[in-house]
Symmetry: D3
Subunit: 237 residues, 6 copies
């Protein structure tokens, strides 16, 4: 099984780290190919960044599409997920959805701890779109930029520990979701520090993609996710 | 007051028509400037189209930003609305939101009639994001492409009449929202045919923008809609 | 365009102030006529007050109905709104609905700051009826009576500032709605003090009424808002 | 135990019938006093009727308040319920709420069958305010005026049977709520015709009031339902 | 009228206390028969306890079924309620549902105070299943085991007072529901201490059962609550 | 990896079939052990059946608990799921949850087709508990008993095809979930007949269990799912 994991930002070190984590969590027999677009923002921290990144993500999906069995979008906002499902039959997984499903299975309520405060609303929207706001105890932020995950991981872990502890003690959470692909690999340490299971979103994404491929499922082309109409797209393609 | 109305697709005839309708419905003293991106799909009929169009829409917002008092996104999916609110202080209006607010004021429940069947889910998402699913009696489709609004308007009106009548008689609607910017200007005829008020989304958009400008409001820069972080965006800008 | 703004309470000084604010925020070409019933409570601070006021409000709507293009109910509970829509074809606007729509356009979440604590539930009901509880970060109260808006405006502003600051810092609000018609005109000062946009409900009401009239919309008479049945109403009319 | 049942309309024959049904369903030891205002509409079929009736209902509550143990509002819209709870410590019951609670106990989903089609939205609002829209399979209407309950009961029963059968066979209902106080006493016959339990709203109201009195409960005066402020109410009282 | 009150746990002293409270709150003419299963956990404090108890509760319902007019399940999780409704035509009442309905009638929002912290999620589920989460201000716990209600009632009352006061002062509650059958009879004292009405769940259960019997209602056998299919149940019956 | 799949009913032929399907869909390296209780109903078709089965299911979980890595409850009602999570640290998966998560990834809306009509409410409750009612287009029933899956599979497939077609054509579904463990293995044929992906719940269960084990997750023991209190459970254990 070959799964393409797409980091929507253009920071190659982060792509390499995500690929490493994904391969480490994948089943034997799964080959992970981690890529990122050549163009676009070095991190996704605003709706502006997200929308600039999506067309480049779509190109990464279309490149050598026949060689892959599934796609994982490695950014907690699940950017462009609906569009990706239109342009391929293969299962497409967003790490936000995948990590919420995993958390649902091990705790009645959980919290998401993410990076910047300004991402609060973006995370909230992802939770509401998934219909899981009753399961989400709170959204907390470490208030550090996404790239700090690469550049200062111990500060991120400290922030996760503080945010996670407040979520457990004040908000009613019983498990923690790491709300950024850059936090992939920090689940074990955080789980040790907090005493509750922590969900690694990259691991959830790769494993959920394996689940769908293993079940032989493909995206429904009945109506909404049909291939886009053939038409002129000026200056594109 | 100068308001820039952005048609996210690249069909100039449609932009001209939208600009005409918007100016006709604007208050005296309001100058409408209707534009469309040079690059991108000739119509927005899938999530794929939408995401390809958004970065070009963002550029249209940034161009001569100081000369305008407000922005109207003239596509019923309100594409990129959150991102536009990050890159300008001026009020930004999506025609979906604006037309639902107008409909709420004149009927307890209303239906949206849009173009292609595949857009059902996109319209549903816009309604749910606005929190107004309890007010939406149904979503119906004329099952014709967006550009038929320009090329075969009488067929579109016939489809609107049929869909609207079913919405009134079977679904519990008491008013109709035209669910596509290309339907701008068809409200009067449809209202005559159906005997209920019909909401023109382009008119709603321009009038709602005027309302916000008239109130002296600007987009909150407290947290979520702050300007995007200064950072490298490879190959862009 | 002539718009009748109805203050449901019987305090004429408040009516004058509301009329002044409404006219100041109206477009040029709009004539505001502010009235209040001769009978009824001097302020609306309970459901009891509200229900006593409504029949008098209905009479104000019926008086010289042909001379007006729209109605604005200038009380944050939108008292009797459904009934007013039955007895006139003209658009009818409640300031609660109008100010929430304006706030939605400039912030992802907002708080309402109102007068008495006992009005908490009334405000909550207005928010829920509008389907916007997910957008409402909190409801806060300055804990002073409605008429303090006229008699001690600086104390009200101080209370608004305190409540607004808590809403921004603790509750996740990014804009503030003034939750009482008597607070009309205080938005500018409060906005200066807090650093976020504040929505003046009287301004929102008059501008939303202009929007609907400008669009040529009338209340749907399809079913729910048909004229009341002709029947005996003992001792009335 | 003495319970005052207030018919908000001014049709004395209907009041007598409601009083008769209420007494017939009351526990031994309960004295029912059925009254109606002297002023107001002869039937409640619009929001306009409802709001005209409420101030007169409030006066009926205040008259000899010390002589009663509880109040029942005998109209399916529960008109003025919040205000009545402000002006007395005694438990106050709306027949809409009471009949939905009874239905919840005997069926997973139920439908409400009411009189005029235009009341659909009013019933829907009562259901939503009670938080029970997931339990409500549908709202159906016999499309006859309220007073037909007195003047042509066999036609009403025929309409209830037709509407009820559709609710059971098409909408997923498993019990029927009679959605008008005037339908009091028709539950037994309808239940025989349809083969499912039917909830008589007058019986539900009187029995729910007995339940609250029997439990020794009074309306909370902690905040929302405190007595209205002492103030001038011009031309009133 | 004979009502069987079933305490699902096997602590006979608690059954006796519940029976005493139920009889004290019942109408004259109602005979209460309080029972508990011979097998099963001595208290219900986990889902595990609950599921072990339910089959024994079902047997208690089936025993001498013809001699009773209604059933009350005296545990705040309403264990097995759906199944009990399948095996008898008589009305079946859960004390959770009954006490929430009573609280709705006397306060806009209320809190539930229960025993162990681990029961938080179980109480939350009961509230959500009833559709009443918007009415529930909070769930608070005294953090003592269920049997402390029998063995150390003064400590329980102290905990209820503390939790109740926080609910009133911080959470927006205006009434308190005692969230455990073992707290039956503590409502009066707590109400005196807190100054708001407190709902005794045992009293609510017995009175709600009387209401349904008094209305002549039986459980709908239309579909969901039909008698279970005749089939082999190995090693059972 | 060893996963215990528990068929809650006592029909061994069905257990064998479920085990076969589960093993066929499992990853290489996963060993499936399918069991059923010795006592209890031969099929789960009512709440009564469900509650009788759960204590026996709990014993199956406790038997040789150290030898397994995860548990799958193979009945679409996810019977006793919360309790199982209390008595083991290992991940526990219900096939209802697992199949809804899989369906979410491949279609915007899906329908569940189950066996008996009376199970409608049980399926609805599972969907609502998962927070996914907005994703569920409809619930349809083939109206045949559970054991027909073993005894007359071609009739079940015919019923699935009819129900599925109506779901696609009338209800807005774009994928189908097989709503009974006994339907395991029918997904491929149904998918061929209908032209949309169909979710096999047994496959979903086993693959979701593998996902959780692969991620190294265990059930949170922070609060709700702690081990049940040590106490006397009369006549048990």
């Amino acid at each position: 099984m070959r799964i393409k994991v797409i980091n929507p930002n253009t920071t190659e070190a982060m792509t390499a780290a995500i690929g490493h984590i994904a391969q480490a969590h994948a089943a034997s027999g799964t080959e992970v190919v981690a890529v990122n677009p050549a163009r676009g923002p070095i991190s996704i921290e605003s709706f502006y960044d997200e929308y600039l990144a999506i067309p480049e993500v779509l190109k990464e999906v279309q490149r050598n599409e026949s060689e892959f069995d599934a796609y994982v979008l490695a950014c907690w906002g699940d950017p462009g997920l609906d569009a990706v499902r239109e342009i391929t039959h293969k299962p497409v997984v967003g790490i936000a959805e995948a990590s919420m499903y995993a958390a649902n299975a091990i705790a009645p309520r959980w919290s998401v701890v993410t990076t910047l405060k300004r991402s609060y609303h973006m995370v909230e929207h992802a939770v509401q779109k998934a219909g899981l706001h009753d399961r989400c105890a709170s959204i907390r932020c470490v208030d550090m930029p996404v790239l700090a995950c690469e550049q200062d991981p111990s500060a991120i872990i400290k922030g996760l520990e503080e945010g996670g502890r407040l979520a457990l003690q004040q908000d009613g959470a019983e498990a923690i979701i790491l709300g950024c692909a850059g936090m992939g690999g920090m689940d074990e340490k955080l789980s040790f520090l907090l005493g509750v299971p922590c969900v690694d979103p990259v691991a959830a994404g790769i494993r959920f993609a394996e689940m769908l491929v293993g079940m032989g499922l493909q995206t429904s082309k009945w109506l909404t996710y049909r291939a886009p109409e053939v038409k002129e797209r000026k200056g594109m393609e």
